[in-house]
């Protein structure tokens, strides 16, 4: 990428920090210049992550860089340990300390002798990849560093893996997920690493009967839990009525618990009611502006929204990932190498139903029906925690957008 006109892709360091910040009882200590920490706070706030005595920075001076002096880091670790008594301190390197090769692993090793807190070095300086990689590292770290001991299996309990504050309306999605699991199986949530968890809950991740994996970035963590504790997992989120039915059946197959028939009946009714949307799609297919959709977002959500649009018969003609596709089975999802290319792809779309972030929506023609489905937000705020994209309520909401879209064609 050369010239960047809008927002660049957040780095692996940003992804790992916002994943780790969610752990209650833990502190994230950044070893780097303070400005980045100060700047980042508003972004975490937008995601619904409020660092309350859980994020600190050491700052750095020129002398520290030239002399490789880690005294500042040592003092900060001691202070946090003594002053806040966290169970864990994640010591995260910065771009500067990565470049100079500061040995934060070594510091954590010898400092741990004198601290009550466990010290976990996170050597992600922002140059290995983008936030998707950082989140992958974050989930692995949370699962593999804590879920190490034998635990007793708890009945009717699940974990959610791959939930993240970086997904717009994730709190709403989790609310819907809880509702589906409760109504469908009478299951309750145990922990959601990367969103809602504590050190104690992470240590007991192996107690769940099933892991629900929302993002591909958390698959490795799910596989680890399956190998270590024999916990099965279900990958994918319940998008659309049909998708929700399939997802519930998958969960039922894995847990051996039948889905509540009332919930199934409700979903079947909803599914029948959407038949008219498929009919609209075929009717409008002969018009000058044929129905088509554009999705910009993270791979997992693009797949989910694609299922929704397939259910209503609207072809998705452009799928743009916000993060790198390395390690993903991308299919027809693309990640333009240059921002210019992405801008041009979006600008040429007219009369489309567009799901995406507010910058991508801004770039699309006014004839499009635009639905905010991902960060970054520019004009709006995320407040509601009861407006999901998944499950029954999610599909209800998205159908309203589809309806508005047909009104524009």
């Amino acid at each position: 990428m050369s010239l960047c006109r809008y927002l660049p892709t957040p780095s692996d360091r940003m992804g790992v920090i916002w994943t780790l910040l969610s752990v209650k009882g833990a502190v994230v200590l950044e070893y780097g210049p303070a400005g980045t920490t100060h700047f980042s706070v508003s972004m975490y706030g937008q995601m619904g992550v409020e660092p309350n005595q859980s994020l600190f920075t050491t700052h750095l001076s020129e002398d520290d860089i030239i002399m490789g002096d880690v005294t500042r880091l040592e003092e900060a670790v001691r202070e946090i340990d003594k002053g806040y008594h966290p169970e864990v301190i994640f010591v995260v390197s910065s771009s500067v300390t990565s470049i100079i090769g500061a040995d934060i692993k070594g510091v954590c090793n010898y400092m741990e002798q004198e601290t009550g807190a466990r010290l976990i070095p996170v050597d992600t300086g922002g140059f290995k990849g983008d936030y998707s990689l950082g989140m992958r590292e974050g989930y692995n770290l949370l699962v593999k560093s804590f879920a190490t001991e034998a635990v007793e299996r708890k009945k009717a309990v699940y974990n959610v893996l791959g939930a993240s504050g970086c997904d717009y309306r994730m709190r709403s999605d989790l609310w819907e997920l809880r509702s589906l699991m409760q109504e469908g199986f009478s299951y309750t949530e145990h922990a959601t690493p990367g969103m809602d968890s504590s050190v104690a809950a992470l240590k007991e991740l192996g107690a769940a009967e099933v892991n629900l994996v929302l993002r591909e970035e958390a698959l490795e963590a799910a596989e680890y839990l399956e190998k270590t504790y024999g916990t099965p997992y279900v990958y994918g989120a319940p998008y659309g009525y049909e998708g929700t039915l399939c997802w519930l059946k998958k969960v039922s197959d894995v847990t051996g618990v039948p889905v509540n028939p009332e919930l199934l009946a409700k979903l079947q009714r909803k599914k029948r009611d959407t038949a008219s949307y498929k009919m609209y799609a075929s009717m409008y297919a002969h018009k000058e502006n044929r129905p088509q959709a554009v999705i910009v977002g993270d791979v997992s959500r693009i797949r989910g929204f694609s299922e929704v649009l397939e259910e209503v018969g609207i072809p998705v003609t452009l799928k743009i990932s916000n993060h790198s596709l390395a390690g993903f089975e991308a299919g027809d999802i693309i990640k333009p190498a240059k921002e210019k290319e992405k801008i041009s792809l979006l600008k040429e779309k007219t009369y489309s139903l567009v799901f995406g972030d507010e910058i991508s929506l801004y770039l699309c023609d006014e004839s499009c029906e635009k639905v905010v489905t991902s960060f970054p937000l520019i004009r709006s705020k995320q407040i509601a925690e009861h407006m999901p994209f998944i499950g029954i309520r999610g599909m209800d909401y998205l159908l309203e957008a589809v309806d508005r879209y047909y009104g524009k064609l």
């Binding site: 303070a34 980045t36 801004y362």
Partner: protein
């Protein structure tokens, strides 16, 4: 945390020899200070037809662009802030190739009249020679390309970013002959907060037919910057404007007057007199009236302020001048938060030390301050803090947000009035007469 232990690590003002002696309250900070990149962004935002091109990591560029979309005079998504994002390849092999390619795109799409090329921490560590790249680009595209270095590890906060961006503007200024100097025009340098047009000084100047030329970084155009040397005098309203003013004095012979937000009435009077001398405006009588009004107000205030103990944070005023003024009012500084030490010869430092020897610490680290209050037991806090948290410890917050758009005797009057209000409230709190709000 233990407040006494935190305090034991600090130095007192009398023991400080250089800025490096001013220690942080704690090694772990939250949220920490803003970086000079933010300062550069704020300054370029004030030059309405200039472009900001940040060269940095995804993080630095992301946060800068995000901030400009929300404000800082950039306005909207398609604004004047662009970036070149560094990856591991650029760290190893240098950013030249990527910068040249990006600049070509920038020229094609935005055709800027001037570009501020702002480097960040990583480039300053790897040692990429962005200054020579800027020269090359300037020659190639025939527009001013001004490098500004904003590595945070050399500075305490964002102010050097504003200062260096403002200072870099000198290369765009065009020399003028003596005859071309407009004796009825002034430049204003260093107005980083508030609007100059709302100040008492502005009213006085306009009343006497003086026109305002370049206002850096308060809001100007490239054309005004080019014509800056035609002003009779530069008014430096914050010390961040001093390097530019000094350079303009050497290069163009433009004199300058230091006219900060002074708390002490005599300093305001002195600044007015010096400025009016350059502009050949006779307002001796008018100034004396305004001055005497402030002096009387200060004398009256001493009765309430005497004996008040305070902790000083970051305010819109000049740190040491304001503290010296409060000492002159009989107040006692317990702890001063500052990122700079002006030297032992500084008259304000000398004045403070004649009576007190307060602790000093770096600013922007309010979390551990809570424990310090328990030890020092101040009556007042000046700067950014949570008012309710302070009140729970019987400390009253002295507000200063209305001072941003003030310059002149209105600053003295507002400061005295607010200190008196806060001191009265503190006395009521200390007497255990309950919560006022």
């Amino acid at each position: 945390m233990n407040g006494a232990e935190i305090i034991s690590r600090l130095k007192c003002l009398g023991d400080v020899n250089s800025t490096k002696d001013i220690r942080q309250l704690t090694a772990a900070l939250f949220p920490g200070a803003h970086c000079p990149l933010m300062g550069a962004m704020m300054a370029v935002g004030g030059i309405e037809d200039a472009v900001l091109l940040v060269i940095g990591t995804d993080e630095c560029t992301y946060y800068t662009k995000k901030a400009t979309i929300g404000g800082f005079s950039f306005k909207g998504i398609d604004n004047r802030c662009f970036s070149v994002v560094l990856d591991h390849h650029d760290v190893t092999f240098g950013c030249r190739e990527k910068l040249m390619e990006a600049f070509e795109e920038l020229m094609e799409e935005a055709a800027p009249k001037a570009v501020f090329l702002v480097t960040t921490c990583v480039l300053e560590v790897t040692g990429d020679d962005v200054d020579s790249m800027a020269e090359e680009l300037q020659t190639q595209y025939q527009i001013p390309v001004l490098p500004v270095h904003t590595e945070h590890f050399k500075t305490a906060n964002h102010i050097p970013g504003v200062r260096d961006t403002v200072t870099a503007c000198i290369s765009m200024m065009e020399p003028v002959s003596m005859e071309q100097v407009n004796h009825k025009r002034v430049n204003v340098i260093g107005q980083r907060l508030g609007k100059f047009e709302e100040t008492q000084l502005y009213d006085v100047l306009v009343k006497h037919g003086i026109e305002i030329g370049m206002m850096l970084p308060g809001g100007t155009t490239l054309e005004a910057v080019r014509q800056a040397a035609a002003a009779r005098v530069n008014i430096v309203v914050n010390e961040l404007g001093l390097p530019l003013a000094k350079k303009m004095q050497v290069q163009f012979g433009t004199p300058y007057v230091m006219f900060d937000k002074y708390a002490a009435p005599e300093h305001v009077l002195q600044a007015y007199k010096e400025l009016m001398g350059y502009l050949k405006i006779d307002m001796e009588e008018e100034l004396e009236t305004m001055y005497q009004e402030c002096v009387q107000m200060a004398e009256e205030a001493k009765k309430t302020l005497s004996g008040m103990k305070y902790v000083y944070g970051n305010t819109a005023l000049s740190c040491y001048e304001y503290n010296a003024f409060m000492v002159s009012m009989g107040m006692e500084p317990l702890l001063i938060q500052t990122n700079e030490y002006p030297g032992e010869d500084d008259p304000y430092v000398k004045y403070i030390l004649e009576k007190y020897n307060p602790y000093v610490t770096k600013s922007a680290n309010i979390a551990p301050l809570q424990y310090v209050y328990d030890e020092l037991k101040p009556n007042l806090y000046l700067g950014h803090e949570y008012e309710s948290r302070l009140r729970a410890k019987k400390i009253v917050l002295v507000h200063d947000s209305n001072l941003s758009s003030m310059l002149g005797f209105d600053v003295s009057k507002a400061v005295i009035a607010e200190l008196v209000r806060a001191a009265k409230e503190a006395k009521i709190l200390a007497a255990g007469e309950g919560e006022l709000r």
